[in-house]
Structures are given as structure tokens and as C-alpha cells.
Amino acid sequence: MRVSRLASLFVLVVLAGAVPVASAPAPELTFTSTQLNPVHEQEWARTTLLKGFEDETGIRVRFIGDLAGPYIDRLVAEARAGRGTVDVTGTLHGDFPLLVAEGALRDVADVLRQLEGRRDRTFIPDLVKAGQIGGMQAFIPWMQATYLIAAHKRALPYFPAGRNPQAMTYEDLLQWGENIRQATGERRLGFPAAPGGLYGRFLHGYIYPAYTGAQVKKFKSPEAVQMWQYLRRLWGVTHPSSFLYTFMHEPLLRGEVWVAWDHTARLLPALRERPDDFVVLPSPAGPRGRSFLAVIAGLGIPRHSPNPEGAARLIEYLTRPRTQVLTLQGVAFFPTVREAAGAVPTGGLKVMADGVAAQATARDARTALLPIGLGARSGEFVPLYVDTFTQIAVQGKKIEEVLAAQARRLEELYRAMNAICPPPDPPERPCRPE
């Protein structure tokens, strides 16, 4: 008697839980992303970017920004459980191979075909190609970004005489910092070297290829040793609080730092607030050219997306030329469709766009790409470079010894994942530091 009453209660509870699933899907989409994750960008995504879509379609979008770790765990867990709650997802190019390997994504080739069939947008072909992973179209290009230098105009008089800031070399940058230090007694160069900062990108994507011509292959080469000696000297003219900087726009606006290297989105707030005070310059060139990272973010649909049609609609909205211009203006991520690339921005954004163009079109420019194919161990790549920096520049250990030990870790990582070298390295698999 009692058991049957309990059983009927249980059935009721289960039914009550199942009812919303059985009826038409609620007009809401869940959109997870590692991009637009800083608080002010999340706020912008909710109140500006996604509001346009909500007003147009009546579908509410729940935007969830997260760090890469928990973000990937969630998608992988949903794939393994065979039940999903995430409808659309956006992250960096380098995260997709792992998601594909885990079977966490749908092929979005049909969505791409539909979008191209509208004839109102032309995706940049290289970016579409970057999205072809593991025999499927894993993502649709969403946004692009890069890293470069923003400088306060106050710093320009100290730039090495007779040299051109638009074609700066690493020696120029060091001399610049040194000139400022001698003239003012302060160190005014700044790098985002806090744990949440993106200094690691500077190491593997900028200075390493500029000095050695490679990100991984020449990790412990004589050129690399030279580069680390240079970095030690550069650290000597860098603001000694740099280890606290996550977003360079903050020390730039405070006047603590005059010359800062960072991600476009993390410099923009300074340019927006005082567009007349700053210039944006291409990253410096080393003996092996002016290396810079092209960062690609893509949009994918999880395999168990509860509402793939809604997801496709949101992707259509986000890659529309008008939305892409809105994104450029809002958070300084650059368009992935040609039709939006022609839009002429104003104010601080124009300063930024000019700098980005100057960097990409410099005669000695070399594009580096984020490493891919490191799967579950992707997270270890960047810290390996930052830890090398900590040991050499902060703890003052011997360069050759540190490089030898860290190169062993790098080699083990690439061998274990059987991953290919990231450009500009030659496409070897597994990649191996010489």
C-alpha cells in the first residue's frame, strides 16, 4: 500500500519533470563562450550584441562566458552523457580539435552552405579552411583578433632617434624603454604578465618566431638563447609591477605604463576613453621578421544541442556583416566576412584598425598561428613558455639549463599528443624541438 503510493508519487515527479521537454522547446538558446569573457565584454554581449537577435526573433539567449578549463569540461561532459544543454558555442580555433576528438560537435558544413547561399557575406577562405578539422567543418569563423603595441603620445619623443616606430625592431623597443628610464627615472614599458594576462602569447607567437623563425622547433637553439638574453634586458626596463597586469588598458589609463603590448580587445578601452592620447603600433621585428599571431574564434554547434535550428539562426545573426561591424566597434574583434572588413571605423577604433592593418601588411610580416592538436593537454603549451620566462627572468636561473629542461617537457607534450608544429614552423608531426 505504502510502496505503491510512493511509486505513484515518483511517477508523478518524473512526469512533472518531463512535461517541459515533451512540449515545444522554450524560446531560449544557451550560448557558451571562452571569448567575450571579461566582465565588461560579457555585459556588452548581453545588452548590445545579443539583444539585437532577441528583439528580431523573440528568442532569448543565455550567454555564459567561462574560462577554457570549465568551458571544455562542460561540453565534453555533455557529449559523454549524451544529453546537452548548450545550443551554440564559441571559442578559439585551438580548442576545436579537442572538441572534435571528443565527438562533442556537429558538422556545420550545411550551416556554412546555407550562409554562403544568402550571398550577403563572403567568409575569408583561410578562416573557413582553419575550421575544417578531423574531416568536418568544426566551426564557422566568428571573429579575429591580434596583439600589438599601444603607446601614449608622451612616450614618442623618447623613441630612438632616426628610427621609425611603424617599423620598430626589438632593439628599438629596448632602447625606447631605456631612453624613457634615463629621462624620467621610471620604467614605462608594460606587459600583461599577471596569471590571467596574455604575456605567454608574446613569448611563443611573437618574440620566439621573430628571433628563431619558429615557435617550437628552435626552442633551445642558440638564437633562442640570444632571445632570452634580450628578454632579460627588456625586463630590466619594464615596469616592475608588470606581474600584476591582466589588462593593459588599466595601467595605460592610470599613466603607470606608456608603452604596452596586449590583445586588441584589452587595449581598446584605453583608446576609446582617450583616442587622442594613444597611437597603435605594429609589434616589433626580430632578426627573422615581424611575427604576429592571427587569432581566430569560431562558432560551433554541440552534438547534443537541444535546438540546432535556433543555433543556426544565431550563427547567421552573428556572422551578418552588420553584426560583425557592431562586434568590431564593441569589443575590437575584427570581422571574418569581407563585406564587414570595408567598414571605416572612427575614433579609438580607427587608431586600432590602422595599427592592425600596418602590422598585417608590413613587408617583413610573418603570421604565426595558435598551436592545434594538443587535445586534452592544450592547456600546457602556453604556461610552458611563461614558466620558462619565470625561471630565466624572475628567478635568474641559467638560460641553457632551463631551456634544455623545458624543451624536454615540450618534446614530451608533442610526442604524447602526436601533434603537428604550428606555423611558421615546418609542418612536422610530431613536432620536436631541435
Binding site: A194, L244, G255, G379, V382, T390
Partner: protein, 307 residues
């Protein structure tokens, strides 16, 4: 009955009195019933994740037992520094906090005019999260911060000083200690105030009758009677000190690595839950060891007599 009365349990004694069996059944279940929500909560949110973390730290992808995550932890660039800093910060901060908290608690206990207002003001940092506290003190210590503004306003320095620099770890330590003392002294103080209020007034009055002065009253009446409460405060504070993380990250980045911070970075930056769990297990082990140490060192006289 064959056995002496003292050996009987309460339930058996009740059995001797007919008519009370009904009551016995109801009363026996009540404590367990009341404990049940706590037990469920603790099992689901503490015991289970703790066991999971333990498993993550010693089990490889194939499920076999392995020490390699602990080896990876020990070989990590920041491991030695993290151990040293966690222990050192705990050793500096806790005595400062206890002394300061005891002083404030005694001050409040003296019931001077306005002591309640003072108590509330002194307890304010209790309501501020560690991250927020770190940010508050960061805005004081940066090159363009309040401290420099003050020093410059008073013409004590010609130009702003850089306090937070990797070149002077002592200053970094000082900033962290100042923040921690400001932020977490209040909890110790509140526990001690509560403890002081539990000491019956008669003890002090008796001491006065025998002519004890302020210092001797403190030494021979207050402190011994406060010992169990002090023990609790020390255990809580030390465990929390090993979990210290947000204030350190805010003020010193990873220049001053600490154990809890490394656990966090292993998970968020390196995406290695195994090594992160190894750090968590290490923190748990250290906290347990320190707790046992406190329990032994600060045993109250009755406990010593019983043991």
C-alpha cells in the same frame, strides 16, 4: 538485573519503567533525523568531492594507482615556493592576528562607552570577500594608489614609489600580511569575544577579592579559561590560511605562489585536474596535521587528566 545500574544505558533504564517504551522510540530517532540534512549536505558537497579529488590525484587515465601526479606537482616550477610561502605566511599572519584579535576582544570585553559600535566597526572586514579585500589593498599600494597620494601630499616622497615589485619580495610580503591581518582578524576576534562572554563574572570577582591585578587576572583567569575557544579560533584560522589565495594573487600575481593558488592554476591554466587534486590533497593533509597538532598542544587540563 545482573549488572550494576551504572552500566545500563539510558534506554535500558527506561525499559525498567513500563509505559515509557513509546516515548523511547520517538526520542531515539529525533537526533538522527535532525542530523540527516547536515549529513546529506556534507556527504554530497564535501565528502564525495573530497574522495573524488583523492581519486583524481592517485589514479591515471587507465584507472591504475600512480604517483606521477604527485611527482609532477613536486617537479613544478612553483612548488617549492608555494610550500615555503604558504607556511611562512601562515607563521607570520596567525600570531599577528591572534594577538591583535585578543587585544580587541579584551578591549570590547572591558565594556567601555561605545564598545558595541566599536565591535561592529571592527567586524566589518568579515563581510568583505578575500578578492574584494585584495582589490581594496591593491588600490592602496599601486604606483598611482592612495598610499603614494598620501605620501606625496605630505611631501614625504618626491615621486611615487613602487611598492609592488618583484625585485623586493619583502614589500610584497608586507602588503599581503597587511591585507590578511586587516581582512581576517575579525573572525578570530568574534570567536574570542564570544569566549570571553562565556567566562562567569564570579571568577574575576574572586580573583579581585584575592587582590589580583589586571595582568595577573589575564594570565591566571582569562587565558586558561579561554583556551578551548582559542583552540577553535586557531584551527579555523590556520585551515583558512592554507586556503589563502585570492588576496595573494591580486597583490603579488604568481611572484608569491601559494598552495591553493597553484591548485587553482593547475586546473584553470594547465587544465590538469589531476595535479590540481594533488595540490588539494596536500593542503588537506597539512590542515589535518596542523589541527591534530593544535588539539594536542592546547589540550585543556581536564582532557590531560583524562588521557
Amino acid at each position: 538485573m545482573a549488572f550494576p545500574r551504572q552500566a545500563m544505558t539510558i534506554a535500558e533504564r527506561r525499559l525498567e519503567r513500563p509505559g515509557l517504551q513509546f516515548v523511547r522510540l520517538r526520542i531515539d530517532w529525533l537526533p538522527y533525523l535532525l542530523l540527516l540534512p547536515t549529513v546529506i549536505f556534507l556527504s554530497a558537497f564535501f565528502v564525495y568531492p573530497m574522495l573524488q579529488a583523492l581519486a583524481l590525484s592517485v589514479r591515471g587515465p587507465d584507472g591504475a594507482l600512480t604517483w606521477r601526479y604527485f611527482q609532477a606537482m613536486v617537479g613544478d616550477t612553483y612548488f617549492i615556493g608555494a610550500i615555503r610561502n604558504s607556511l611562512l605566511l601562515t607563521a607570520i599572519v596567525i600570531p599577528l592576528q591572534v594577538t591583535l584579535a585578543l587585544t580587541i576582544a579584551l578591549l570590547v570585553h572591558s565594556r567601555f562607552r561605545g564598545h558595541t559600535t566599536f565591535l561592529y566597526v571592527a567586524a566589518i572586514p568579515l563581510g568583505i570577500s578575500d578578492l574584494a579585500a585584495g582589490l581594496v589593498w591593491l588600490s592602496i599600494f599601486t604606483e598611482r594608489g592612495y598610499l603614494n597620494m598620501l605620501l606625496q601630499g605630505l611631501h614625504l616622497v618626491p615621486r611615487p614609489l613602487t611598492f609592488l615589485t618583484f625585485e623586493r619580495p619583502l614589500l610584497l610580503y608586507g602588503a599581503i600580511v597587511a591585507t590578511e591581518v586587516w581582512r581576517a582578524t575579525a573572525i578570530v576576534m568574534l570567536i574570542l569575544v564570544a569566549g570571553l562572554q562565556l567566562i562567569p563574572r564570579e571568577f574575576f570577582e574572586t580573583a579581585e577579592v584575592f587582590g589580583a591585578t589586571g595582568w595577573r587576572k589575564l594570565r591566571h583567569v582569562t587565558l586558561p579559561l579561554l583556551r578551548p575557544v582559542l583552540q577553535t579560533a586557531l584551527i579555523i584560522r590556520t585551515i583558512l590560511a592554507f586556503q589563502l589565495f585570492a588576496t595573494v594573487i591580486t597583490l603579488a600575481g604568481r611572484i608569491v605562489p601559494v598552495l591553493a593558488g597553484e591548485a587553482y592554476f593547475q586546473y584553470t591554466i594547465y587544465r590538469n585536474p589531476h595535479v590540481a587534486s594533488a595540490y588539494a590533497v596536500l593542503i588537506m593533509g597539512t590542515s589535518m596535521a596542523v589541527t591534530v597538532l593544535y588539539l594536542r598542544l592546547l589540550r585543556t587540563p581536564e582532557e590531560v587528566a583524562r588521557a
